[in-house]
Structures are given as C-alpha cells and as structure tokens.
C-alpha cells in the first residue's frame, strides 16, 4: 500500500509542470543570470595572482619579514616583495612595476598609485598586520611573559589574510547569491509539500475525498506523499548543486559532499513548510502555490537573494531573524562550509534545519489528523 502510493506520488510529481518549472527551470535560468551578472568579478577572483609589492624596510623589521614569507592565498604567495629604498620604490610604483609600497616602522604604512582589487588586498593586509601587532605590543607591556605569544599571533595574521574578502567583499556577496539561490530551490520545495495535504484531505480536493473513502489509512497516504516529496526535492537540490558547481563552475569549496548533504537537508525544510502551509485553511492549491512561492522568495529576499547585503541589514535591525529565517539558515550552512574549517557552525545550521523540518512536518500531521470535516 505504502509503496503503491510512493510509486504513483513520484510519477505524479515528475509530470507536474509547475514543479518542473519552479524547481528545475527557474533555478537554472536564475543561476545563469547571476553567472553573467557577476562574471567579470568572478574572473578577477579566480585569476588571483601574487601582488608585486615594494617594501621600504628602514628599520630592518625581522618579524615583518617572516610574516611576509608565510602569507599566501589560494596556494600562491600573497605578495611578491622587492626590498628597496624610497626613491627606487616610488619609481617602480610610477612605472607600474609594483602595485604598492609598504613602509615598515612603528606601524606599517602603505602607498598605492591607483584603486583596484590588488590595492584593496594590500590595504587589508596592512591594516590587519597593524592591528595584530598593536595587540601584541599591549600584551607584552602588561605582561612580558605573554610576549611569547607574539609569534603565534603574528602568524595568525597570515591566516587572517587568507580570509580576506579578496574583492572588496565581492567574492562573498557574489557567492552568497548562489547560496541564496540554493535556499530558494529548497524553499520552493514547499510547492511539492503543498500537494501532500491537497490530495489527502477530503475538504481540499475531490481526490482527497475519494482517498478518504478508501480503506487505506490517511496516515499511510500522507507518509507516502511526504516521503516521495522528500525524494523529489532532494533530487532537485542535487541537480541544482551539480548544475551550479559543474556547469556554471561556482566554487563551493573543498567539501562538496557536505554541500550535497546540506542541500538535501535544506530541501526537507521546504517540503515540510509546504506540507504545513497546505494543511492550513481551505484555499485551493493554485492559491496556496502562489502564496508559498511568494513567501519563499520573500524569505530569500531577506536573506540576500536580490540585494546582497540584505542579511547584514537584517542582522542589524532584527538580530534574531536570521536565526529563524529558513532561507538565511540554509544559505548560511553553505557559507559556513566554505568559510570555516571546523564543523561547529555547519553542524549548528544542519541541526537547526532538521529541527525546523521536523517541527513543520509534525505540525502538518497534527493539522491533517482530523478524521471528519465540518464542511466540504
């Protein structure tokens, strides 16, 4: 009975035009649009090359020299350094042989000739270095024993530079759009979920009425529909990730298997959300589809699908909101995976998603559990 239901649920879903549009076609087109819109930026990022820099080191700063050597980005050294004097350095900058001049001293200072990505990176590096050395100095003044940590902290500067938002923060924003795109596909799973209540509730459709007359318990029909919706949505998520990664070449980081895992889990949030929405009230399926698409897009908007820094704005205005906005949680899960080498934040996001999904599904079950209807 259960398998029979699953088989036909899957068949029905695969032939539903709305589903194919919202869950497959629409994300593909939007992904393509993003890719074209951001392509210029993306090229610059992927073609990152070591920055030629002149260093005027009149104080013979050994700490600085050792940091310079260890700093690298994307496996390449961050800086290609030429030690020289002030005159020569200025000449090189004017001729365009170097992108900037770093002066050592009490604090590092930087001079550049124009604005650009490389210059921004240099600026970020210098600021970060100065910040760290100030911290070290202050610590050392208070407690000389602590000064031993100086080296450790300084080498952290190297790590920090690896996390530089290489292009004015554009890499971040750029890839955020794709994370939000995935969040959108996940939440569009709600249109699949809607179907579950629709075909199992006598007050929502004639098919629901007919199924309610059969000796197959409603719980069987609903679980089968829920299961097949999860399967369908997971397939759509896998398709989207694969398309973004291997067709558009979006870099989701090293741990692609976890990206897939996160995608699959986020899909269940969308399906459960739809199931829950579908069980509410007695609007017809088209109206509910409209509502769930709108709701999904709105949540994704607040998480930065249309305007990149929306999530930061929300974090300032309504700090709790990003923690409960499923779109934000979903896109964050991908972000964490790319940004942090540990699993703490990622695990937290995955657990949040699972809890949301389970809670919504239970709520849906609770609402559809009714046996007789007051009105059909």
């Amino acid at each position: 009975m259960f398998l029979h239901n699953i088989k036909y649920e899957l068949l029905t879903a695969l032939r539903t035009k709305d589903l194919i549009f919202w869950l497959i076609l629409f994300p593909i087109l939007l992904g393509l649009f993003f890719k074209f819109a951001f392509d210029g930026i993306y090229e610059q990022v992927t073609q990152f090359s070591t920055i030629d820099t002149a260093v005027v080191d009149e104080t013979d700063d050994t700490a600085f020299r050792s940091v310079i050597e260890s700093v690298e980005t994307q496996g390449k050294p961050l800086l290609n350094v030429v030690y020289t004097d002030r005159e020569e350095a200025k000449k090189m900058l004017m001729d365009g042989d170097v992108k900037g001049i770093i002066y050592t001293g009490d604090e590092l200072s930087l001079s550049v000739a124009e604005n650009g990505i490389d210059q921004t990176t240099l600026k970020f590096f210098v600021e970060k270095y100065n910040l760290n050395s100030r911290i070290i100095k202050r610590t050392a003044e208070k407690d000389p024993a602590e000064a031993a940590k100086a080296a450790a902290v300084l080498s952290e500067t190297a790590d920090a530079v690896k996390e530089i938002p290489l292009t004015d923060g554009n890499t971040d924003n750029f890839i955020q759009y794709f994370y939000n795109l995935l969040a959108m596909v996940a939440l569009f799973g709600s249109t699949v979920g809607l179907h579950i209540s629709n075909v199992n509730q006598a007050n929502l459709s004639a098919i629901g009425a007919r199924k309610n007359c059969s000796p197959t318990p409603k719980s069987t029909g609903i679980s089968a529909a829920l299961m097949s919706s999860y399967i369908i949505e997971t397939l759509c998520m896998i398709l989207s990730v694969t398309y973004l990664r291997f067709v558009l070449g979006i870099d989701f980081g090293e741990r692609l298997h976890l990206v897939y895992l996160s995608a699959a889990v986020s899909g269940t949030v969308g399906v459960s959300l739809g199931f829950c929405l579908g069980s509410l009230g007695s609007l017809n399926e088209n109206a509910k589809t409209g509502i769930s698409i709108t709701l999904s897009l709105f949540l994704c908007f607040l998480s930065g699908l249309m305007v990149g820094n929306m999530k930061t704005i929300m974090a300032q205005k309504l700090p709790w909101f990003n923690k409960v906005n499923p779109a934000a949680v979903i896109s964050d899960s991908f972000y964490c995976l790319n940004m942090y080498s540990d699993y703490e934040r990622f695990t937290e996001k995955i657990i949040t998603m699972l809890v949301m999904s389970a809670a919504l599904a239970l709520l849906g079950f609770f609402m559809t559990r009714r046996k007789k209807y007051a009105s059909l």
């Binding site: 009975m1 029979h4 029905t12 059969s214 209807y373």
Partner: protein, 316 residues
Amino acid sequence: MENTVVKIENLVKRYGDLIALDHLDLEIKRGEVLGLLGPNGSGKTTTINCLLSLLAFNKGRIEIFGKEMSPVAYDIKKNIGIIMQNVAVFDELTVYENIDYFCGLYITDKAKRKQYVEEAIHFTGLEEFLKFYPKKLSGGLLRRLNIACGIAHKPELIILDEPTVAVDPQSRNKILEGIQQLNRDGATIIYTSHYMEEVEQICTRIAIMDKGRKIAEGTKDELKRMIKNTETITIEVIGLSDADRSVVAGLPHVYDTAYDGSKLTIYCSGGKHNLIRILGVLQERELSFGRVYTELPTLNDVFLEITGKALRDKEE
C-alpha cells in the same frame, strides 16, 4: 447475510443556521438500486458525505453492513465504491494509471488488481484510451473514467452522486446501462440525481428529498399512487364557454380544469374511460376539437403535489 446494507437514522446536519439534513431516515436493502431524487440543494450530496464519514453531522446514526460507520471503519470502507459528483482523478496520470492507483488503495494483491483493473476498463469501454491523460478525454469519457476508478475493486455497495451531469445522451445511456449491470452482478446501489427520468428508468426504489427532508419514498408506482392525479388530459379546443367548462368539470373523477383560450387541461383522479366521457360532452355541445393528449403522472407530479413546486423548471 445482513439484509439491510445501509441504515440512516435521524440524521441532522447543519451548516451554521442552514439545516442541510433535517432528521433524515433511510434504509437500503441488499440488491436494491435506491434513487435519491431531489432538486439541487436538497441535501443529496450532504447525505452521501455523511454516509461516508467525510462530514461530521450534528445528530443521528449511520450503519453500513450492520456496523456503525466511522472514518476508521476500514472493513466497511473496503466494500464501498464511491463515484463523487466532482470528477476525482489525477491529471498527471493516464487512464490506466488512475484506475490502477485507486484500485490499489483497496486491492493489494498485484495479479488480482491487474485483472480487476482490466475488467473495469472493459466494463466502462475505455480500452482505446488507456494511455490518454484525463485532460484529453471528452466529458462523457471522463465520467466513465471517474466511474471506473470507483468500481474497479468490485465493491458490494456502490454510491453514485449525479454521475451523468454534463454528459451527452449516448454516454448517459451507457452509464445507466452499466449501473444496471453492476446491480445484476450483485451490487447494491445508491444513485442520486435531479433527473427524474433517469431515476424512474433504473431505480427499484426512490426516495424523494426536498430541503433536507425525505418527503416520499417507494417504488415509482407506489409513489404515483400516493397522489390523486392519475391522468392529465389536454384538448385543443377554441371558443369554450364557462358553461361548457363547468359541465366538463362536473364529470366524475375530474378534480380540476384549466383553460387558456385554446387548450383545455383536465386533471383526473382514478376511474376509467375519462377521455371518452369528456370527448362525448364536447361532441354533445357541438364543440370542434383539435389534437388530444393524455399523460400519465410523472415523478414531477408527485413532487409538485407534495411540495407545491416543480422538481425543476427546465432541463439545464
């Protein structure tokens, strides 16, 4: 074997202030084709939905196959076939898949199901449309698919709610014949309609409903015997005086007359040779008459006499 298949006692269903079913009692015996006849809004669908435990009702009791019906009475449900007023099939599934899907909710054994599905296809004459999607079917074929989905599991009790609405006469006849065939094959049938001709044609017993109440019940002959009209005679005649008309009205068995200047209508109750007697009077009074019609009472007359209004104005 229990002889009463369905027993509805004192059923009351309210929608807010509206009383959709007003203390309804109804019994259906094994092997019957029971017609629920009533105008739109009289409560037929509501009765069916309560019967199936889809609708919660305010008062009353429903037994099917001698057991109390409930949403979880799966042993009862597996022997019921339901054809709803609204077509209930998946647009995304083909004719064959739809029948197989719904049959599969009742029959788990695959081989048996395959056989049943094929029999249902044959029975409804859908052989040539197996790969069609419902959207591609004509109204009549769609109704037949709807029926196939409801009866494939060979239920003992089949409930059809207005299965012929918006169906061409040919398909309608096929559907009516099919229902009689199912009955001959042993199924008990509940058939709702607002078309009295259909109900007269196929039902062994008829319950007439109006405003949520059962206003009459019996075989069609029993129902017709309930009313005083036995014959309505219409005669085309011009220049009839009031005196002429009162002579006709005074004849035995005539209980009412009407005259519109060209047509005289005479309502008779019982008796024989009414027509000959009336024509004799007209001849005696040297009135020439044109065409003459005589009609036996219909269920509409029954409805009219009980409720004071026609069952329906015109075929829609």
